[in-house]
Amino acid sequence: MCLAVPGRILEVEERDGTKVARVQFGGITRPVQLDFVPEAQVGDYVVTHVGFAISRLDAEEADRTLRLLEAMGLLESEGPDAP
């Protein structure tokens, strides 16, 4: 139920007084309401649940976590089991 997936905003338009985005999720695109994330813009990644964006992904936070994880991963791959 709380499944929510990240997708990239391709386009934003006003419809009936609300902002609606066309969002790409992997190979498909879907309309997504931006009522709760009105600041989201084309190129942003939003987490979407039942047709509504609930957050705009923070690229800096994502990169920070990944860099941290990558660093650990790289340390590990220097071991004898590295491919």
């Binding site: 139920m1 976590t65 991963g73």
Partner: protein, 365 residues
């Protein structure tokens, strides 16, 4: 795809598991609340990858599973009426009520439809003003803003044929109940990342302080969960009990304020009965009196009737983390996804279904 693939990187997962193995010195019991996270754990075999000292038990975070039997019976009653189009998220259709389920109502000619968003139900109401469109409003805090928005929109447009059967539930009161139970064995929680995307994590700080329990807000990909487990074990081994946010790319301390605002405008907090758990005070949301005209329970004047679960179904203990699905004698024998005894075997987020689907056919012997 960005923000997904990198969090499924096997190399990173192995590094996290290795770090976990270095840190853990004794047994710990951790619980992930959210059923989506339970499925990630099972699907990627994370529960078997982590050091054996760490036991993951699975929480009640599956709205389909905890929707009261009586509410399912009400849904069936409403959906059976000829003028009604009953609209639901897909998982609810096969959940057993006390005598039937929504799928059987549909098979018998009832107009039961599955949607992905409550806005689709709103569209049906606009297109067919002669029919009563009733939306089954279930879910946790993640789903409540969208469902609230649909009702708010219906009121703004003056739609008279849209209503909602509301059975919303809230996560923090359920954690409080689990922690207050005398038999509780959970020592650390992974808080649900999408609930916290909406609500932030202030409420969890209060719980963590009161019960001196570490809580880590976690994401949904395999490396998210491994990192959250690592953060919990690190806290436990260090003797700390704090709230930390692993899923910071989506979750902020205050959460999504516009989403919270629409929730507060449309819903108010109420006591709620959870299937398999019982009544939890202040653990639900219902429509505010200003939105009473959109309350399906009022429109259809449904009686409150109590109903009994089949005695064979042990989902009550499973939902509270006291039993693993495979410990239930009916698991995989009398109870399968094709012929479920209880809701956790039905839902895409139910713990029993997760064990059944991901190579856990091993039945209790």
């Amino acid at each position: 795809m960005r923000y997904i693939d990198e969090y499924r990187d096997e190399r990173i997962a192995r590094a996290l598991v290795a770090d976990l193995a270095r840190r853990v010195t004794r047994p710990w019991v951790l619980m992930e609340i959210c059923g989506g996270q339970t499925h990630t754990l099972m699907r990627y075999g994370i529960d078997e990858l982590i050091p054996p000292q760490i036991t993951m038990v699975h929480g009640p975070g599956c709205p389909v599973c905890v929707t009261a039997l009586e509410t399912i019976d009400k849904a069936i009653q409403i959906a059976s009426q000829p003028e009604v189009i009953f609209v639901s998220y897909g998982d609810m259709l096969r959940v057993p009520g006390s005598r039937s389920d929504l799928l059987r109502v549909k098979a018998a000619g009832g107009n039961v439809r599955v949607v992905y968003s409550p806005l689709e139900a709103l569209k049906m109401a606009r297109a067919q003003p002669e029919r009563q469109v009733v939306f089954f409003g279930i879910g946790f805090e993640t789903t409540a803003p969208a469902n609230a928005m649909a009702v708010w929109q219906a009121k703004r447009e003056g739609l008279r044929n849209y209503s909602m059967l509301v059975s919303h539930v809230l996560v923090p009161p359920a954690i409080r109940l689990l922690l207050s139970a005398p038999h509780n064995r959970v020592q650390g929680f992974i808080a649900p990342g999408h609930v916290c995307t909406v609500m932030g994590y202030r409420e969890y700080e209060a719980l963590s302080r009161e019960f001196r329990v570490p809580i880590v807000v976690g994401g949904f990909e395999p490396t998210d969960l491994l990192e959250a487990i690592l953060m919990l074990v690190t806290q436990l081994e260090d003797g700390r009990a704090e709230v930390e946010n692993q899923y910071a790319r989506s979750v902020s301390h205050e959460g999504n304020l516009p989403a919270q605002a629409i929730m507060r405008e449309v819903f108010e907090v109420c006591d709620r009965k959870w299937r398999g758990v019982g009544l939890i005070p202040q653990s639900g949301l219902r429509l505010r009196p200003e939105f009473a005209a959109y309350d399906a329970e009022r429109i259809f004047k449904l009686e409150d009737a109590s109903a009994e679960e089949p005695a064979e179904c042990l989902s009550a203990q499973v939902l509270q983390g006291l039993l693993k699905p495979v410990d239930c004698p009916a698991f995989g024998r009398r109870c399968t996804p094709e012929s479920p005894l209880g809701a956790p075997m039905v839902s895409a987020e139910g713990a029993c279904a997760a064990y059944y689907h991901y190579r856990r056919h091993r039945v209790a012997s």
